[in-house]
């Protein structure tokens, strides 16, 4: 899932300094699961803001609402009427949701309340570890299900590098070497020959905005007028 962390409170206060009535918009999907931007966290932020601004003799009116998702138009539409009552919106969704909210209401200042931190697994309640960098060139089939782009400090598609050190990475003795882990797992599964395959370096096509259309979902092209 997409994980995020709350922005420092002072930063949020600074963003909202000149606004008198704001709506905190939570998101009920990924950020709710990773305990940063769901209904509960939206209420907490609204309460914090209300108290802090009152103390600063600059009172603010804060309401909160949590949409099912902020990355789908149908849920954003729920705010079409409501948002007109507010000077600004503060979104607790991931970067995707924040932008989609801002795109939906281009005349309204929209601010982020979280820093999006990546795609992660849930190791324990409130504890998340990144596993995927969404590089669009998945090699997990040949790396024993361990992602070298995410888990290797250099993001190497072919490894290990010379910095591998008794199972750990040269950057940090507590950081396991991804390619050592890959070697161990492939050896255990009797398919070590896969590590010898050479893969082209990551294309980093994600340096520009990508569009993904699933098979069967492309809109039919309009017929040209005859």
């Amino acid at each position: 899932m997409i994980v995020a962390k709350r922005k420092p409170f002072d930063e949020i206060m600074e963003m909202l300094e000149e606004y008198k009535k704001v709506l905190v918009v939570g998101c009920g999907t990924c950020v709710a699961v990773c305990l940063v931007g769901g209904e509960k966290e939206a209420n907490i932020l609204a309460t914090e803001l209300e108290m802090a601004r009152k103390l600063a003799d600059n009172p603010i009116e804060v309401d909160s609402v949590t949409l099912e998702r902020q990355c789908d138009r149908e849920y954003l539409a729920e705010l079409d009427d409501k948002q007109t009552d507010y000077d600004a919106l503060i979104s607790m969704a991931c970067g995707v949701g924040i932008q989609f909210l801002a795109e939906r209401f281009p005349d309204k200042p929209v601010f982020p309340a979280v820093d999006t931190a990546g795609l992660a697994v849930n190791q324990a309640v409130g504890w998340y570890e990144e596993r995927c960098r969404s590089c669009q060139q998945c090699v997990l089939a040949w790396t024993g299900g361990i992602c070298p782009v995410t888990m290797c400090a250099k993001g190497l598609y072919n490894g290990p590098c010379g910095g591998t050190n008794l199972g750990n990475c040269e950057i940090d003795p507590d950081q396991p070497c991804a390619w050592y882990l890959i070697h161990e797992r492939l050896a255990k599964q009797g398919r070590l020959h896969h590590i010898k395959q050479i893969y082209e370096a990551v294309g980093w096509r994600d340096t520009m905005p990508r569009t993904l259309i699933q098979p069967g979902y492309k809109k039919p092209e309009k017929e040209e007028a005859k």
């Binding site: 509960k40 914090e48 108290m51 003799d57």
Partner: protein, 114 residues
């Protein structure tokens, strides 16, 4: 035992200290309480294994949130005792009351209507 404890303490019963949420503590301060404390079972004795540990984490979280807002985090505290320790309960109530008296009233109180 007919023990005395300060009359300003308002007790809110919960089935387990693990039920206490960040929002409950924050809302109490927002509504003007001068202090809030959670009294949980002794650590290691939770019937639900980790209810009181979770409560402690939440109390610590609220303390941080309050400091960020500009309110003394020490207005919120966590205490632990067993259900057989009536005198300790009274002692903690007195201790908390004296501590809050030292801190003074909730700074939000003088800031007009909430």
């Amino acid at each position: 035992m007919r023990l005395d404890y300060p009359a300003n303490i308002k007790i809110i019963l919960v089935p387990c200290s693990g039920k206490v949420d960040v929002m409950h503590l924050l809302r109490a301060i927002q509504k003007g309480a001068d202090g809030v404390y959670v009294v949980g079972c002794l650590e290691g004795t939770c019937h639900y294994n980790e209810g009181n540990y979770r409560a402690r984490e939440r109390v610590n979280h609220v303390r941080q949130l309050l400091e960020e807002i500009g309110i003394e985090g020490d207005r919120v505290r966590m205490y632990n005792l067993s259900s057989g320790e009536g005198p300790t309960f009274a002692q903690y109530a007195t201790e908390m009351t004296e501590h809050i008296r030292d801190l003074g009233p909730n700074p939000l109180k003088n800031k007009g209507k909430s």
